[in-house]
Symmetry: C2
Subunit: 421 residues, 2 copies
């Protein structure tokens, strides 16, 4: 049923793959301009989605994510202009190999081909993904959420119009209008037509995609992140980092969910930490040893403190809840992270360089921090100038994915008649 | 049922990941020596497999692949010593980013973690895979074919012994002794315990793995490769390249299956090509236009020539069979390759640099050749010093996979208390 979409995207991907940087950047500017010129269409479409969502009693947070206004359209357009300023990765020579038989082998960066992105609510993902795909010469098939379908269709229509006006086939940008489970599953089976699927959304969506896809997938998202406060930690730094990583924006994947505290500093650190977190409305789920160190008299509000169970160590709360565990030593902290971590972001706070080195080398995660907040795991904070998601797998891309992570490579082999003996 | 194996491998992978190059190379030499010292055990085990295979009436070719003797044990040992000489990719700094807020971000190469390799018959894969895995700090779970199981168990036992004697946990090298379909399927479901699965074998095996795996897979193998003879081709070069790419070793994935010939040179080239190929016992499956150019009087043995159908263009013959098609121009050649190719290796023969450039840029394949045989798509021929397979997907690794392709990366982030605002 989606055959015409995947076929058109595949066909267009051959043209998009060889567009010059100039033509791509020109189109990105035209797309930005078109969003603003046709904003009335976007707002009208968004009004339909918004009213339907209100009628369906969406939470304020969900309504806000869905909502589009002039300012948000400006931001989307600005995002496209920003992508135009980034260096084009396509065609970059990654390596040159000269062989004794005279063959010259050049490894060059090329697009993936056709990328499908399956995502939920926020309409700006539609514009971001279209811009990043065009910049990297990849055709893209977008499958957004039901709740934003009118907005997404309007955005795509405007962007396709701008691309066409630049003399580029708009078929490299496709949106699936039929928002059913079947349309997702059809994408997942489109091996050969689609080169890569990136799911962006909740754990349920990601799990479904990973389990059913025949197309290669980059798993994004789940971050069960830890801060380990070492015996040699500067406790003021530890406090700042924990407060930032837990409370600055608790709903995101690079926020922390568990603090591990070395036994030697637990007695001093834990009551101080508990009070500051409780003052910010954070609920604590603590181990028995921690609980024994939190004296009722010292703690502002003991109702915010509960005994932790196995479930608390496993859970990505994405909320003002923090698990706390006292560990005997660095090794126990690293064992805990190896067991419960999701390979996303992990931090150690210590003034001991050797301990930090061991932690950074041995902890298996996309980003491992020494004396900094895990909240920096982000394409913009890493200086990539863009982000399509944060990978938690080890194949192909790890951590924040920018332009380069949307590319593959090929080998160009220059000969003069060489044959193999 | 394989839980103890995956758990042991995961556990060991943490130790193997941080081994120094010196210790790994020392172990590789010890493994090589042990193979020779205990060759009597290998030969005895291989005798069991070989007799069983003879009893099961295996073809001579299959029996030969299975067979091990002193010389082949020496070759396996030499392969391990060769891997010891290669540069260790682990720990390599790939990039350093300094951020305005003072964060220093270092992208370093790390192992994948636990790799499972599912393969058929040849016992040397057992030794190769063990050596490449250890060198790259990856634990490896081997699942070889039933027909070589005694040999594979003997080899693994000897290699594990040598690893243990070097003070390294041998649990990073695991072999599955229970050769059932269930043991493959259990590996495919072991998401979280296994980081990567590489299937090596026939199309059926690869298809099964791709369709059922929840673990990320690198697809290897199928090569429906083409040579395009352009109107500006040096026909002598074209002849040499086609003869080499078709007949030097027809059973491998980088051999060609179809020749595309520009109409302007078809009349001159096709009869000459046909006669040379027929002299080497190659059967031709030709398009109608080609057939009209092959006059019975000019061709040595017209019984070797048949009319091609769609199936012939799709098929990886892996045999002395070649499809031949006359095309109108470069574009038709590229369209044919886009339709029937498997993204493996494609070649153009031409003296026109512009035409070559267009072909190299626009054809989507792991390796695209100008005036050279496709048979060079190989880790050793590319100078990697090793090869674990040839990837035909675009995610993570493309073309020949050496040591680097068995690695991932992580970001080490050095701070002084930075938090995000």
């Amino acid at each position: 049923m989606l055959d015409h979409i995947t076929t058109a995207a595949k066909q267009a991907s051959r043209q998009w793959a060889v567009l010059s940087s100039e033509r791509k950047n020109h189109a990105l500017h035209a797309m930005a301009e078109a969003l603003w010129d046709f904003r009335a269409q976007i707002l009208a479409a968004n009004e339909l989605d918004y009213q339907a969502a209100r009628f369906a009693s969406y939470t304020e947070a969900k309504l806000d994510r869905l909502f589009v206004n002039d300012k948000r359209i400006q931001d989307m357009a600005e995002g496209l202009r920003q992508v135009a300023t980034l260096k084009d990765p396509i065609g970059e020579t990654m390596e040159t190999i000269e062989r004794p038989n005279g063959l010259k082998i050049v490894k060059v960066r090329v697009p993936m081909g056709v990328i499908a992105i399956i995502y939920e609510s926020r309409p700006n993902v539609t514009v971001d993904a279209a811009g990043l795909a065009l910049k990297t010469g990849n055709a893209v098939i977008l499958r957004g959420g039901k709740e934003a379908i009118n907005t997404n269709i309007a955005l795509t229509k405007i962007l396709r119009g701008a691309i066409l006006q630049c003399g580029i086939t708009p078929d490299g940008l496709q949106i699936i209008e039929n928002i059913t489970h079947e349309s997702v599953d059809e994408l997942l089976r489109a091996r050969g037509s689609i080169d890569l699927i990136i799911p962006r959304g909740g754990a349920g969506l990601i799990q479904h995609v990973v389990e059913h896809s025949l197309v290669p997938v980059i798993e994004t998202g789940v971050g069960n992140c830890h801060v380990y406060v070492d015996e040699a930690a500067d406790l003021a730094k530890a406090m700042d980092i924990i407060m930032n990583a837990k409370t600055q924006r608790p709903s995101v994947c690079n926020a922390i969910e568990t603090v591990l505290v070395h036994d030697a500093v637990a007695k001093e650190f834990l009551p101080m930490m508990a009070n500051q977190l409780i003052a910010k409305n954070v609920q604590l789920r603590v181990c028995e040893r921690s609980l024994s160190l939190l004296k009722v008299a010292d703690i502002k509000d003991m109702t915010q403190v509960q005994l932790a169970n196995e479930f608390d160590y496993e859970t990505e709360f994405l909320d003002l809840i923090l698990a706390v565990r006292v560990v005997r030593d660095l090794q126990e902290a690293m064992d805990h992270i190896a067991r419960y971590g999701t390979l996303h972001s992990e931090a150690i706070v210590t003034e001991n360089e050797d301990t930090a080195h061991t932690f950074l080398m041995e902890v298996d995660a996309a980003a491992v921090y020494h004396n900094a907040s895990t909240r920096f795991t982000d394409g913009f904070e890493f200086g990539f100038g863009a982000e399509i998601g944060i990978s938690t797998q080890k194949l192909h891309a790890r951590g924040p994915m920018g332009l380069r992570e949307l590319t593959s490579y090929k080998y160009l082999v220059y000969g003069s008649g060489q044959v193999r003996s």
